[in-house]
């Protein structure tokens, strides 16, 4: 635990600094390797279904992992994180349909809109505690959802943004080409995960864990808890919004369901499925949920029933997410051998 040694003098600090640096270099290499593998996938398997699956994983994975920054790392159980997913999809879709700017400009502008919205909503929400935080985020989510439904002239109401999203080529990338869309989604996913991992491993990330474990103590040692919570709320919103952008590109539109509370519910479920104590837990959860959804929907019309029973298995049987379970099981086995 290099973080704990930080108070043991300048030397320890320097060691920690060097370790952090090599760790970052290692993360960059891993991220690059993952991206290369994902990008080579279409050459090995030419199935469109697989590519679609990975794109959906990228959209939901970014969303779920960013939610875990709030739930798992900071202890902020947001029931309304999906609003930023929806905001990303609608912001990007509208920008492309109405203004005719290039894709990168629309993307950055969407993030800017998300930033401002998350700052305002977050400033109101993060001073509330536990269940009240959960509910007020839910209320904001539904407020945005209601606005989308009622502002028909702009959003198309319950029909959603239809007519497709124009995707003019930029920098030699043509997003209407399925392969280009796939590689871009993979790149966004890998960059997003890398950045989120850096946030989680930074001193700021450890501040968040401390706030989760004991907010009073954190404020006693001079941490501005409100500001730290707001910062991570806004950061997480940006990544969720990026997931929404990928989704809008994938379905070439945006629908009110993207901003409905069920998206947040699925995000929470994904986190619980994969586990909240490991960084990659939500990613594992995303893959599991998507596979589960796809197979169950194909097999039976009562897919809620099957899904519900699977959830019960995780909640009452394992009592933790899959990755949490695996990590704990592995640790126990290793300890058992050491003795």
């Amino acid at each position: 635990m290099t973080e704990l040694q930080a108070d043991q003098g300048a030397q320890a600090l320097e060691v920690a600094h060097v370790q952090a640096k090599t760790r970052r270099n290692r993360d960059v290499l891993i991220a690059l390797a993952v991206f290369v593998i994902l990008a080579l996938l279409p050459m090995l398997f030419s199935s469109k279904f697989l590519l679609d699956f990975v794109i959906r994983c990228a959209a939901y994975g970014l969303f779920a992992t960013s939610l875990n920054l709030l739930v798992g790392y900071t202890g902020l159980t947001s029931f309304g994180h999906g609003m930023f997913f929806g905001l990303g999809a609608y912001g990007f879709g509208l920008m492309m349909q109405k203004t005719g700017v290039s894709v990168p400009v629309a993307f950055v502008a969407t993030l800017a809109i998300t930033f401002v919205t998350a700052l305002i909503i977050g400033a109101i929400c993060v001073r509330l505690k536990e269940i009240y935080f959960a509910f007020v985020t839910l209320a904001f989510q539904m407020l945005i959802h209601s606005t989308i439904l009622s502002w028909v002239s702009l959003t198309g109401g319950d029909q959603g943004l239809r007519g497709g999203i124009p995707r003019p080529p930029f920098w030699g990338i043509d997003l209407s080409n399925h392969l280009h869309l796939y590689v871009t989604s993979c790149a966004l996913l890998v960059i997003g995960l890398f950045l989120m991992h850096q946030i989680a491993q930074s001193p700021f990330g450890y501040t968040l864990r401390m706030i989760r474990d004991n907010a009073t103590r954190a404020s006693f040692i001079g941490i501005d808890v409100w500001r730290a919570k707001l910062t991570i709320f806004v950061l997480a919103a940006l990544f969720a919004s990026t997931g929404g952008v990928i989704m809008a590109l994938f379905v070439s539109g945006a629908y009110p369901e993207f901003a409905y509370w069920t998206i947040s519910g699925e995000g929470i479920f994904i986190n619980m499925l994969g586990g909240v104590t490991t960084f990659l837990g939500p990613m594992v959860g995303t893959v599991l949920l998507l596979i589960l959804n796809d197979t169950v929907t194909r097999l039976t019309e009562y897919h809620g029933l099957v899904l519900g029973i699977v959830i019960l298995f995780f909640a009452i049987g394992l009592r933790k997410g899959l990755m949490d379970f695996v990590v704990e099981w592995y640790a126990q086995r290793r300890d058992g051998r050491g003795k």
Binding site: L149, S150, G308
Partner: protein, 300 residues
């Protein structure tokens, strides 16, 4: 937005009466669901996300009983008793296993049951809209109060809900069981050390909450259409009610339910597309100004 319709209604006594009654019945149904929710939270410290399903089952039980027997009273009884039993089974069989676990685990168990219950209803009663129809006894001419139309059934609905509120409020405040329940909410360890079976109390409170939601569903069955998933909008609205009123406060649930009922009723005139939005906006305003709700106590 249609502000003219709203001001026009406020100026007409007939419209005012009609809208207020309709706000009242929305509020009263919401109160019955929300008070169960708030009670379960107050005693068990569990946020029961599957509470809307009990409302749904209450409505379906009542419809089936009414179709089989033709008796309205029996239909109400079946709706309430059936969901009470369901609540007991649900609590003893599943919820009791995740007490003390992460809040997210409890939410997840409830979420699982929302999915399961909806599909069970779909299996038994089919996916299409059903309707119970107005009982024969209430197929009479509506009353006219100051020019406004008030169906007699609405009066029954409001009085049953108010009676339930009174019985519940007095029962918790005055009776021995009520005191034990409040004690268990405050300090379950001490209550159990005194030789009182807390498991029984927890199961009982859950059954009571389920029964109230089931009663609301049964009362709503003649005036609303029944569909799998009908519990959901009710659940979200009763959450708003409990949060506005303050989690765990019965009086808060009553006031919150009436406020939401009126917002829905009058909001549908002035802001037809944004009625739901108005509720959420109201909830945000309340929570921002009073983070624990109107009647909520600061919970440690």
């Amino acid at each position: 937005m249609d502000i003219d319709a709203l001001t026009g209604c406020l100026a007409s006594s007939a419209c005012l009466v009609t809208q207020t009654t309709s706000g009242f019945i929305i509020g009263m149904l919401l109160f019955l669901v929300a008070v169960g929710l708030t009670l379960i939270f107050g005693v068990l410290k569990v946020v029961n996300f599957s509470h809307g399903a009990f409302y749904m089952f209450g409505a379906y039980f009542a419809m089936t009983a009414y179709q089989l027997t033709g008796s309205f009273a029996l239909a109400m009884l079946c709706g309430a008793a059936g969901t009470a039993i369901l609540g007991l089974i649900f609590e003893r069989g599943f919820m009791s296993r995740v007490y003390g676990a992460d809040v997210l685990m409890q939410v997840l168990v409830c979420y699982a049951f929302v999915l399961i219950f909806d599909d069970v209803v779909r299996m038994i009663w089919g996916p299409e809209f059903k309707s119970m129809g107005m009982p024969v006894a209430f197929q009479v001419a509506p009353l006219f109060i100051a020019g406004g139309v008030v169906p007699p059934y609405y009066l029954l609905l409001i009085s049953v809900a108010l009676a339930a509120a009174a019985v519940l409020g007095l029962g918790l405040a005055r009776t021995r069981i009520g005191k034990v329940i409040r004690a268990a909410a405050h300090n379950p360890g001490m209550v159990s050390a005194l030789g009182i079976n807390t498991g029984l109390i927890y199961g009982g409170v859950f059954a009571l909450g389920g029964m109230l939601a089931g009663l609301a569903g049964a009362l709503a069955a003649p005036v609303r259409s029944l569909t799998p998933g009908m519990g959901f909008s009710v659940l979200i609205e009763s959450f708003i009610v409990t949060v506005i009123g303050g989690m765990g406060s019965i009086l808060g649930a009553l006031i919150g339910a009436l406020l939401i009922g009126m917002i829905r009723s009058f909001g549908s005139l002035g802001f037809p597309l944004f009625t739901e939005g108005l509720m959420y906006l109201f909830m945000v305003i309340v929570l921002v100004s009073r983070p624990t709700g109107l009647f909520g106590k600061e919970v440690a």
